[in-house]
């Protein structure tokens, strides 16, 4: 389910490398004689001057920046191998004069699409007068009758519009497709610009390039202006499909750049005829929704009932004018390929003008004449469903064999009005850097417009794309087969090259910005918990390996206790807990699995994966440095996978060190660089709770069973080593390795940041700072009660008594009972936090219809 996959390129656009004898392609950079065109001269020279190595180095740097920025496309479910956004560092250059014509043409086109939207969802004169054959609209699943008559309190209904352009062999620009419901790509275009300005700083400075920031400023101003019709302090959110969306990076990126909270359908709710965001501070009102989900997914009450992405009741709020959705629900209708066949007439009818930028020749098969033409010329055409909603199959005539052609023609004859055919257009050739030199590839460019006070403004630039291989026949929607390019519009004046100043009036209410959706804080809470779980297990295993491979290997009794502890700590049971002697003698397979088996819950890898997945969900909240560390962590996980590919390696602890270091870097960063807002607070709550839980479990699993003196001290030593307390312990107690002293350091010592008391004291402090729901609770809240109880228990604990071995049980029963109770209390604490601050609403279910009518 993708709102807007970037348009596919036609085979011609992605065909073979440049052939000088061919005149089928317009050449952007070079003239007929092979000399660079005037406006390309500087840049071609710069690239030649850099030399193959120099350019490769820049390309490498660009890739690293993109990867560090988390710039991905079509993220798969594997959080370890994101598809990094592909960028070729040779920009596409457009001269000012050509640009002026394109700009004017796009303004006209957006105006036209806005009028079409108003007409089809209003008076429908286009249908009544026969300008558009009515069956195209009436038979279109994207024509949402429930949206008829909804108006936006603004001059334009279509607020964002994008068109895909190619250049034919004569250099003429043609539009091959439009995006009107939730156009994607503007954020990627901006990221491309940022990256290019960093890897080619000199070239960037010396070329007069129009800035993109005005476009985003206008977008923010427009949404703000519309929001003011609804409320004095309008709140704007960006509604996303979530981390599974192909273009999630861009959604998070835009949310941050524009300063809008990034929300998912479940973060919003309709109450009392208005839209609200479920947040840490309760419900906060929402006035404008910039959406990246499809029309029919927006509202389960009136549109697709089984949508997982929508907000039930949203359409009625839009109808009553209490929320504005950009673009309005139903606008996907205008993306229909059949419309392109009638655009010249529509433009005459609605604007009294000819289209400035022509549309690719399109035949609607609903008339006999067109259908016969298509039948006769099938090999030269692309056949598309006329009422395509979201993508859908296209057929490239020349790729079909006789049988396939016949099958397609039969399909068309069955319902001709449901098909269109478009001519192929060879995209212009653009230089790209490949195989150590400049090569030529066919290209396509997406342009963006946004509504403003007087009409529409056009992003001075765009998202250009070229095929990434020289030889592919058909490039589908798969963006990983194409490379993007920054698009430079060369200015003649200096002004348009200056960045836009921030208009203070359009800055969102600060309160909303710091008020996070419940889902976000929940993910951060779990991010902290998974991180801590991974860390504790890592440290324990690392210690075990060190102790086993040390000068004096561990005695059997100590070893067995540690192995059991590892199973208990990871929760991967039964593991060693019920293992037979052979398992203890040959523990390597199980140990390797506890590290590397991502599919087994509780292992180190599964905890790290879960942590990365939580991070991905709240991408927009992570700082640039955090993303870099997470990237390093991904790389280290791959290293561990490689090291453990054939079971436990020679030095098993070595590759684990890097993982521990990355986690330490993350907590250092949290500590030093994060504002103490609710995001930090919940991440900390998660970490501290988990650390207390893990420590309690560790003490119980390692120290409950009494051992002979030497074996006992080796176990104690290992525990202390794993929590980095061995040196302090030795300094304080010399060589008196008594369990009670260990408990003193790990339970009751306030100065040890890994002790139980330290965690509970911190938790108690954080609770004071959390927002309080104005509830009727008498006295202490249940979560605070739980923490104070735990704190008291730890403070009042008699350590000698806990260390005492019960003669009847033959073990430290008091210690075991104490830790069990503490663990239960902490678990209850987390469920209180979860009940109070996280959202637990299950999805809606459909009202069953009756038998209907008799």
């Amino acid at each position: 389910m993708h709102t807007d996959a970037l348009a596919p390129m036609t085979p011609e656009q992605a065909s073979l490398d440049f052939d000088p004898a061919s005149s089928k392609h317009y050449d952007e950079a070079f003239d007929m004689n092979g000399f660079p065109r005037d406006h390309w001269q500087t840049i071609i020279e710069s690239f030649n001057a850099l030399g193959a190595e120099g350019v490769a180095d820049r390309q490498q740097r660009a890739r690293r920046i993109l990867s560090d920025d988390g710039a991905t496309y079509n993220l798969t479910s594997d959080p370890l191998s994101p598809n990094v956004w592909g960028l070729d560092i040779v920009p596409y250059l457009i001269e000012n004069d050509s640009w002026k014509a394109l700009e004017q043409g796009m303004v006209q086109r957006s105006k036209l699409f806005d009028l079409i939207m108003k007409d089809l969802y209003g008076e429908q004169t286009l249908l009544k007068e026969g300008v558009i054959p009515s069956e195209i609209i009436f038979d279109h699943p994207g024509f949402l009758r429930a949206c008829h008559g909804i108006s936006v309190p603004h001059a334009q209904d279509i607020l964002l519009h994008a068109s895909d352009l190619v250049r034919d062999e004569r250099g003429q620009y043609l539009i091959v497709g439009d995006r009107t419901q939730a156009p994607s790509g503007a954020g990627y275009a901006h990221e491309n610009r940022v990256v290019l300005s960093r890897v080619m700083p000199r070239l960037f400075r010396t070329s007069r390039i129009k800035r993109l920031s005005h476009f985003f400023q206008t977008l923010r101003d427009t949404l703000m202006r519309i929001g003011k019709q609804i409320s004095d302090k309008p709140r704007i959110v960006l509604l996303s499909e979530g981390a599974n969306s192909k273009t999630y990076f861009e959604q998070a990126y835009l949310a941050n750049y524009l300063g809008f909270p990034l929300v998912q359908g479940g973060d919003l709710t309709v109450r009392n005829g208005q839209v609200w965001m479920k947040s840490l501070n309760g419900l906060s009102p929402v006035d404008v929704i910039m959406r990246r989900i499809n029309d029919d997914a927006c509202d389960q009450a009136e549109l697709k009932p089984n949508s997982l992405l929508g907000v039930p009741g949203l359409l009625e709020v839009a109808r009553s004018g209490k929320v504005v959705i950009a673009n309005p629900i139903g606008s996907g209708l205008l993306e229909t390929p059949a419309l392109m066949a009638f655009l010249p007439q529509i433009s005459q009818f609605l604007l009294g003008e000819e289209l400035s930028i022509a549309t690719v020749k399109t035949y609607w098969c609903g008339t006999e004449e067109n259908r016969l033409h298509v039948e006769a010329n099938l090999s030269q055409l692309i056949i598309k469903p006329a009422m395509r909603v979201n993508g859908g199959d296209s057929y490239y005539g020349h790729t079909l064999d006789q049988e396939a052609k016949q099958a397609l023609l039969d399909k068309i004859r069955l319902a001709p009005h449901r098909w269109v055919a478009q001519e192929y257009v060879s995209g212009a050739q653009l230089p790209v850097w490949a195989d150590q030199g400049l090569k030529k590839r066919p290209s396509i460019m997406r342009m963006f417009t946004v509504a403003d006070k007087d009409g529409f403004s056009v992003m001075p630039g765009g998202l250009s794309r070229v095929g990434s291989q020289g030889n592919e026949r058909i490039v589908g929607n798969n963006i990983s087969d194409t490379l993007s390019k920054d698009t430079w519009v060369l200015a003649t004046d200096f002004e348009s090259t200056l960045p836009a100043g921030m208009d203070s009036s359009s800055v969102q209410d600060i309160a909303l910005q710091s008020n996070l959706p419940s889902r976000v804080i929940e993910n951060l809470f779990w991010f902290g918990r998974y991180m801590e779980r991974a860390e504790v297990s890592l440290r324990l295993m690392r210690t075990f390996f060190k102790q086993m491979n040390g000068v004096e290997p561990l005695p059997k009794e100590s070893r067995d206790i540690l192995l059991k502890a590892i199973s208990l700590q990871t929760g991967c049971l039964p593991g060693f807990v019920q293992g037979d002697s052979s398992m203890f003698e040959e523990p390597n397979d199980e140990l390797a699995s506890l590290i590397c088996d991502g599919a087994r819950p509780g292992t180190i890898k599964s905890n790290l994966n879960a942590m990365l997945a939580c991070g991905e969900q709240v991408k927009e909240m992570l700082s640039a440095d955090t993303r870099i560390i997470l990237n390093d962590l991904r790389a280290h996980i791959h290293q561990v996978d490689r090291a453990y590919a054939n079971g436990l390696p020679e030095l098993p602890e070595e590759s684990l060190d890097n993982l521990v270091t990355s986690i330490l870097a993350l907590s250092g960063l949290n500590h030093e660089s994060m504002l103490r807002g609710p995001d930090w607070m919940f991440q900390e709550l998660g970490r501290r709770t988990e650390r207390a839980l893990q420590t309690a479990k560790l003490l119980k699993s390692t120290l409950t069973e009494p051992l002979a003196s030497m074996q006992q001290s080796l176990v104690l030593e290992s525990v202390l080593l794993s929590v980095e307390a061995l040196i302090s312990f030795r300094r304080r107690y010399r060589n008196r390795n008594r369990v009670a002293y260990g408990l003193d350091l790990l339970m009751a010592d306030r100065t040890n940041p890994r002790s139980l008391i330290y965690q509970t004291e911190q938790l108690r402090k954080y609770l004071e700072e959390l927002p309080r729901n104005e509830s009727s609770e008498l006295g202490l809240s249940p979560e605070k009660r739980m923490i104070i109880k735990s704190l008291n228990d730890i403070q009042l604990a008699d350590l000698e008594m806990l260390a005492h071995v019960d003669e009847i049980d033959g073990e430290r029963s008091a210690l075991s009972d104490f830790m069990t109770q503490l663990t239960e209390q902490l678990e209850r604490f987390t469920s209180h936090i979860s009940d109070k601050y996280f959202d637990h609403a299950a999805g809606p279910q459909q009202l069953v219809p009756g038998h209907g009518e008799y």
């Binding site: 429908q124 249908l127 009544k128 007068e129 026969g130 009515s134 069956e135 009436f138 038979d139 009758r145 429930a146 008829h148 008559g149 309709v270 109450r271 009392n272 005829g273 389960q300 009450a301 009136e302 009932p305 039930p312 009741g313 009625e316 109808r319 009553s320 609403a841 299950a842 809606p844 279910q845 459909q846 009202l847 069953v848 219809p849 009756g850 038998h851 209907g852 009518e853 008799y854």
Partner: protein, 293 residues
Amino acid sequence: MKYKVRHLTEYEYSAPVALCYNMAHLLPRDTNNQRCLSRRIKVWPKPVYQHEGQDYYGNQTCYFSIEEPHQKLSIDVISYFEIQTTDFIAQAEAHPLTLGELKALLEKPHTSELRMAKEFILNSPQVRCSEQLAEYARDCFSDEIPMIQGVKAFMHKVFTEFNFDPTSTTVATPLEQVLEQKSGVCQDFAHLSLGCLRSLGIPTRYMSGYLETLPPPGQEKLTGADASHAWFAVFVPDFGWVEFDPTNDIMPTDQHIVTAFGRDYADVTPLQGVIFEGGDSQTLSVSVDVQRV
């Protein structure tokens, strides 16, 4: 003729519903010969939001949402109507247009009325055209007889060949199965007619409403004995939409009260929407009373 209609819809849930959002098509509309004199809708528990409006086809809608926990939902509508008797049906029966002429007009529509009527020869959410459906209706039409007479013959064919059997279908039963088993309820007969007539190229729309039923001679009319009803209407250019009731083999005059029309049942579902929580089961009960006043 004046009528009072009471239409009571009740849902019961196996667990409390925390929140619901609903769109109702339960309020009556005006037509050429029908005027709603007054109407009242009462939703319980009291909605926190309630708004009346009109849908794409000009039908009355009532949107509401309830935010207090409830295990029972009731919607009680009472409306008063006046239906004029006209000679519309007599004129329709005399209309000479044949099916062939109608198709020619729709092929090259020259008026906005014709262009807009095309909506009703296309597939709709619950009705797909097919050759099989066209075949069933084809023998009722020819170039010699006016289309309206053909539709009348078709209505009679459905009436005689199909059994009324509420147990044989649900709202989701496909038309092919209805045609196969030759049984169903009024909604199935209306949908089947839409499918057959549209497959022949006749613009046809779904009519939803009530029918006044009369008790057997000498008996009192029972409360709640009536039900909501469905039939269809076909388009005659420059004339209007002519109604047919295949369940009763009559052309409605003044005993059919219209609440809404659309492409099919999905456009005018009496109550649609979603609930939050509410357990795994819902029971629906509906009672309708039509009285002359």
